[in-house]
Chain length 134, copies 4
């Protein structure tokens, strides 16, 4: 199931070509993943502060089809294909709201790691039982 949020392009997102800078789409993708997980009832602050569990990106693959421009309304679509051990594979797409034009799409894999050691860390049981695909 696709989770969807909306945002808008400000000057701080753009670069001298009048378009969103290629690294800044990754910020919107962080927003999308965060809001998907929160919408599933996952309390990221609690996992971080009580369990010492955080979720850095381990690898990503992104295609840039068309650019967002200043003050464009954009849609960030996020899908999580279940949890594989400590890995969270996401699919994300960014669309221009007007005309629903695909701008950027990518796959990103996150890992559950211990906040102090940055080593892989088992998930709490309740998290493994969540239905994150739907």
């Amino acid at each position: 199931m696709k989770h969807t949020i909306e945002t808008k392009t400000y000057y701080f997102d753009t670069d001298a070509e009048g378009v969103v800078y290629y690294a800044n789409y990754l910020k919107w993708m962080e927003m999308g993943r965060t809001e998907l997980l929160e919408s599933k009832g996952i309390n990221l602050i609690e996992l971080r502060e009580k369990e010492g569990l955080v979720f850095p990106v381990k690898n990503l693959s992104i295609s840039y089809h068309a650019p967002a421009k200043l003050y464009d309304a954009v849609i960030i679509e996020t899908e999580l294909e279940g949890i594989k051990g400590v890995r969270f594979p996401f699919k994300q797409r960014i669309l221009k709201k007007q005309g629903q034009i695909l701008l950027v799409e990518g796959t990103l894999e996150l890992a559950a790691v211990d906040r102090a050691s940055l080593k892989p860390k088992r998930l709490p049981d309740y998290l493994k039982k969540l239905d994150l695909k739907n």
Copy 2:
């Protein structure tokens, strides 16, 4: 041939886990590609302002092995594997200087496009003749 530059991590590169934010490595990668091209005698400002030629990233694939931390000296290695039509395929690696530890590596493909239309655009002849691999 590998082109190499060095930089250093400041607070503005880092995030609340005490490491460089995943999107910020892409800024260092822009620095590395820019300096490689300039070192080959390519005048990016002139190409942009006189020829209307710019080089956005079309796709990228990145693996994160270990994080850079505050004030770490880092090395950015950049290789360009020739030019394929209007496409510029790069390999880039970021290492922690102390111990030469591999932090991040990726492949990125740029395209020569017209600055106004953002459509693919032929390269000037002198650019095609440059030996960018060595």
Copy 3:
């Protein structure tokens, strides 16, 4: 009259001390000013593309009282004290939503300038007549 928007802190806003990086509050302030002007019926895209009119910050003075942290909900308050010639003086405050704690406050002055020359530029009449204080 105070104009108010809400946002939330993500990893990309924070730095290695676990708090929002001092320059990133200025991004939230841009969001606040943009949304105030749009709420008054000012079409910033049209002013930019049809009139060549843009509004860079000319000076600012900011005090940092307390930091926003990861995933904090924050409120951005923006006030515009009328227009003085081509100058737009703003007061802005950022509060932590929970407890309404003042985090950052500042005064910022913007100028209407021509997009190409960056020189001061007269405002269109309809803009001068707008009641921006209330």
Copy 4:
């Protein structure tokens, strides 16, 4: 005494007006202050990790005179006017290297605080004895 570093504008510094985004000059100012302190023999990593001492900005006042553009070489000048208790008052200026044109200038005050509590914290004696003005 003025401390000076040089850097260069990349796409990630710029915005859709083709100039450096107003908040990004503050990143260059962080670079300038960091390098001044390191040049005086202050080990910021050691102060942070062994003494728990960090130096957030408490207030700043900045004037924007002219913008830096893509690939401009810029100079960051930093002066520290001694230490006042736990306060470090800085003057900083950013110039375009070509023509030595003043772009941005400001005063910024930092405070020595405890990393965990963010409360003001006494400086180690050796730091108080340093001649930071010259």
